[in-house]
């Protein structure tokens, strides 16, 4: 049973913990910035990198013999290989090995796979102490916590926290000075490295062609752990095995760029055999444990097999808006962040993945992922599993049914609008449906878009034919936006049709109703396919709708129809931009109004706001793009939900953006997304509108 109250309490506690959100936000935004800088400075072709990493991982995972080939090479070179079905088998193996070698202390470099199987505690219970040697891991080990981030395990700790933890761990006073802490840790760990009989590392890649394990570190602890003790144990997930050294190079460089914005980590080590020490090879052993622990099951499940492409860079958590304010102890189980959701569901059990509700379906994790893993879709599948098991919480059911609600509210407008205004009505609505009373709700229009367009010039078709896809907002709430969009398209010479379509269906994905989303996608694809075959292009002013048409529908209803629709679907401003020279654009506000422009998350996969900004500038506006590098926190209707699992969390994310808007001194906000506009308005008090509402358009 999903414990929503427990999750809400955790979120509340995280948001109330002094400095936690600020530290998490500072760490993740610095990592985002470093990644962006590296991509620019190194001239990285992000699309090419994604295709390459994804391609090589898929190829490796598609070869069922690869782990055996890798193992055979390791053994040829004198190493020992053990295939562990689960964590217990891996731990048994290491415990027995430690016993055989008379080791009651192990030194270990960072290994996320070891976290997955609770390696340290399990060995401790077997009388073997495991010393973490990565500084961040050592801090969390001394604090008896779990890593809060895959790459930055102690990102939630201040210098003072660390000094206190290390003082307690070393039983001597350590000053609140990072350099002093570092010296103490170095002095503490050095004899451990030199005296340990067994060292344990993870593996960023296993190279099948030579039986080589490649690891990346910045601190150099991996080199010491693997060289100084007589026995080196590698614990590596089966999915990390790739075919060639070139493939391994691609994986480790993509990981370094995506994780910290480094062209490569300070150290990349590749071990193929156990080397002697000072010419003596007796007793020097290499053991490679290849862990399954649910990976085979994931590999055979088309919903989750892509999760195995993960290279553990942490880029998805650096860009995740809600993770960035609550951290991995709330947004995570053992693995933290977005990619942890499918991993947790498969490796640690679906019940442990209930924190998936903290995912607001912004889609940015997929954008940041160097392996282009479709995390949003996998997370939606996890949510669907939870809904199937536990039922849909009332508030989520309410918002997942937004299309029906919109139809109803529109049919009863303006009564519906008036009835939602009084405070008492909002309190009631909060109690009955979980809609936060503080959130400004959109007004509904009695007359929907198709009615509004009746009798309007729908274009002569001299430039081509277009289907306009309004989605909920431009159909039920703001049909005037649809009218303006159709007007611009007609002015450019397009013949415009607005057929009967359903909404894009994104809220179904947000709330774990994947099957319903697929039915919507099927309906829309069937409706649009004929138009496309007839020469129409599909255009939407709502970035989420364009994203669904171009991306999510391909997965929801794979086939020729969705591919065709995706290839012929366009975000509005990108589509009209080439023809703007034919139009006269007049700013309706001003003169001298400076706009603060916000890029909606789903447009980051499409146009990154460029054509809309140029449209506004062409109309004479000064436009400042205001962004934190992640989502505004609204997440569709997530920010409309009451309390910690909605408005409060949404606002905690939004505050960072609101501060930037306030500091920008822009008098007006522009954004293409209807829900982002609501978030910015509620958070800053600024009027926030779609760019089309700010420009009068006519033919020259």
């Amino acid at each position: 049973m999903t414990d929503r109250k427990g999750l809400a309490d955790k979120v509340r506690r995280a948001l109330a913990t002094e400095g936690l959100s600020d530290k998490m936000w500072a760490s993740t935004s610095r990592a985002r910035g470093n990644r962006a800088k590296a991509i620019e400075e190194l001239g990285i072709d992000v699309r090419g990198m994604k295709e390459s990493v994804r391609g090589l991982k898929q190829e490796a995972l598609g070869d069922p013999e690869l782990p055996r080939k890798f193992a055979a090479r390791v053994e040829e070179n004198g190493g020992h290989v053990f295939f562990a079905k689960d964590g217990a088998q891996a731990i048994d193996y290491v415990a027995e090995l430690a016993k055989r070698r008379g080791a009651d202390v192990l030194v270990k470099s960072k290994s996320l796979t070891s976290e997955e199987i609770d390696f340290d505690h399990a060995l401790e219970a077997r009388g073997v102490r495991c010393i973490e040697t990565d500084l961040g891991e050592l801090i969390v080990q001394m604090a008896h916590e779990r890593p809060v981030h895959l790459v930055m395990p102690a990102a939630h700790k201040s210098v003072a926290d660390v000094a206190s933890i290390v003082s307690h761990g070393l039983k001597r006073e350590v000053p609140q000075d990072p350099d002093a802490i570092l010296k103490e840790v170095r002095a503490y760990l050095r004899p451990m490295f030199l005296s340990a009989k067994v060292g344990v590392t993870g593996g960023n890649a296993g190279v099948a062609e030579t039986g080589t394990v490649v690891i990346e570190t910045n601190e150099g602890n991996g080199r010491l752990v693997s060289a100084a003790p007589d026995v080196h144990v590698v614990l590596i997930g089966a999915e990390k095995i790739v075919r060639t050294w070139e493939d391994a190079a691609e994986v480790v460089s993509a990981a370094a760029i995506s994780a910290t914005g480094q062209p490569m980590t300070v150290y990349v080590s590749a071990f193929t055999a156990r080397s002697p020490l000072g010419g003596e090879g007796a007793g020097r052993e290499l053991h490679v444990i290849i862990l399954d622990n649910g990976r085979s099951k994931m590999k055979s499940d088309p919903r989750y097999s892509e999760a195995l492409d993960c290279i553990r860079c942490g880029a998805c958590m650096n860009i995740c808006p809600t993770y960035s304010v609550v951290g991995g102890h709330t947004f995570g189980h053992i693995y933290p962040g977005p990619i942890s959701i499918p991993w947790t569901a498969n490796v640690h059990g679906i019940d442990n993945a209930a924190y998936s509700e903290l995912c607001i379906a912004c889609g940015l994790c997929k954008e940041a992922c160097p392996a282009d893993i479709d995390m949003p879709m996998m997370i939606a599948e996890v949510k669907q599993q939870l809904v199937d098991l536990n039922g849909q919480p009332r508030v989520n059911r309410f918002f997942a049914g937004s299309e029906t609600l919109a139809r109803l509210a529109s049919a009863t407008a303006p009564l519906s609008n008036w009835s939602l205004r009084p405070r008492a009505a909002r309190v009631l609505m909060e109690k009955a449906f979980g809609v936060d009373r503080r959130r400004t709700l959109p007004a509904f229009s009695r007359k929907r878009l198709r009615s509004r367009l009746r009798g309007m010039d729908a274009g002569d078709g001299s430039a081509g034919k277009v289907v306009y896809f309004p989605d909920v907002s431009a159909d039920y709430n703001d049909p005037e936006l649809g009218v303006k969009a159709v007007g611009v398209l007609a002015a450019l010479g397009y013949k415009v049709e607005v057929p009967k379509l359903r909404w894009s269906g994104m809220p179904y994905l947000s709330y774990g109703e994947v099957r319903k989303a697929a039915r919507v996608a099927e309906y829309n694809v069937r409706a649009l396919e004929g138009y496309v075959r007839d020469g129409y292009e599909v255009v939407s002013t709502e970035p989420t709708a364009a994203y669904m048409l171009k991306d999510s529908y391909l997965t929801l209803v794979p086939g020729e129809g969705s591919s065709l629709v995706a290839a012929h679907s366009h975000p509005f401003f990108e589509f009209v931009e080439p023809g703007l020279g034919k139009l006269a654009l007049t700013a309706t506000r001003g003169p001298g109004v400076e706009l603060g422009f916000h890029i909606p998350c789903h447009d980051r996969a499409l146009t990154v706001g460029g054509p809309a900004v140029r449209f506004l500038r062409a109309a004479g506006y000064g436009v400042k793009v205001i962004e934190t590098g992640t989502c505004c926190g609204m997440g569709g209707t997530f920010g409309m939900k009451a309390g910690a699992l909605g408005f409060d969390l949404s606002n905690a994310v939004g505050e960072r953006l609101f501060d930037l808007f306030r500091g920008s001194r822009c008098g007006l906000a522009a954004t293409e997304s209807s829900v982002c506009a609501a978030q910015i308005h509620d958070g800053t008090g600024l009027e926030a509108v779609h760019p089309l509402h700010l420009v009068d358009v006519s033919r020259r």
Binding site: A154, I181, L182, L194, N218, A227, M264, G278, G279, E280
Partner: protein, 189 residues
């Protein structure tokens, strides 16, 4: 005159807090080593994995300082001796231009520990050995491993001093490995 790759390497390696020196002769190599050891106050220096033709220049540069010849020590004795050294002199098989890294190939872990343990590591690298980027270097590494007839070497890429950002994202050097890495690029070897 440094090669284009060596120049590119020097820029990136320096930006990662590494130190790059160029030596065009045996004498200049000895002098650079002597100066580095004195500047770092090194009283004992571990020397490991240096090719025959360069050993003379190294020995000359370290005259008057305790030199630990890592290759002459056996077993744990080698590890302990390296751990006592203030500075090490090691050999890099290749330099990597674009990412600013050194590539070390070692057949004995005592040699590897020489570039891990002391506070300062001076890695000698031939100017003619530079490769354009990490991908090319990984290909070369794979070839060395695959074609190595006997025991397989360990390959280590080193792109500057040991560092961490685990305390409030502040960049700190020398957490476990060397606090300072000097790449001494040899134009003559």
């Amino acid at each position: 005159m440094a090669s284009q790759y060596a120049d590119a390497f020097a820029r990136v390696f320096a930006s990662r807090n590494g130190v790059v020196l160029f030596a065009q002769s045996k004498g200049a190599t000895s002098e650079a080593l002597r100066r580095t050891a004195v500047e770092r106050g090194a009283s004992s220096v571990a020397v490991a994995g240096i090719p025959e033709g360069v050993r003379g220049a190294v020995a000359e540069g370290l005259e008057g300082i305790e030199v630990i010849d890592v290759g002459s020590l056996r077993g744990a004795e080698a590890k302990e001796a390296v751990a006592r050294a203030d500075l090490s002199v090691t050999w890099a098989a290749h330099g990597v231009a674009k990412e600013g890294a050194l590539m070390e190939a070692t057949w004995d872990d005592a040699t590897k520990l020489a570039s891990c343990l002391p506070m300062t590591n001076v890695a000698l690298v031939s100017e003619g050995s530079f490769l354009p980027d990490f991908h090319a270097a990984m290909r070369a590494a794979g070839k060395i491993v695959a074609e190595s007839p006997g025991p397989k070497p360990t390959i280590s890429f080193i792109a500057g001093p040991s560092r961490t950002a685990d305390i409030e994202s502040r960049l700190l050097y020398g957490v476990h490995g060397p606090h300072s890495v000097v790449a001494l690029v040899l134009g003559w070897a």
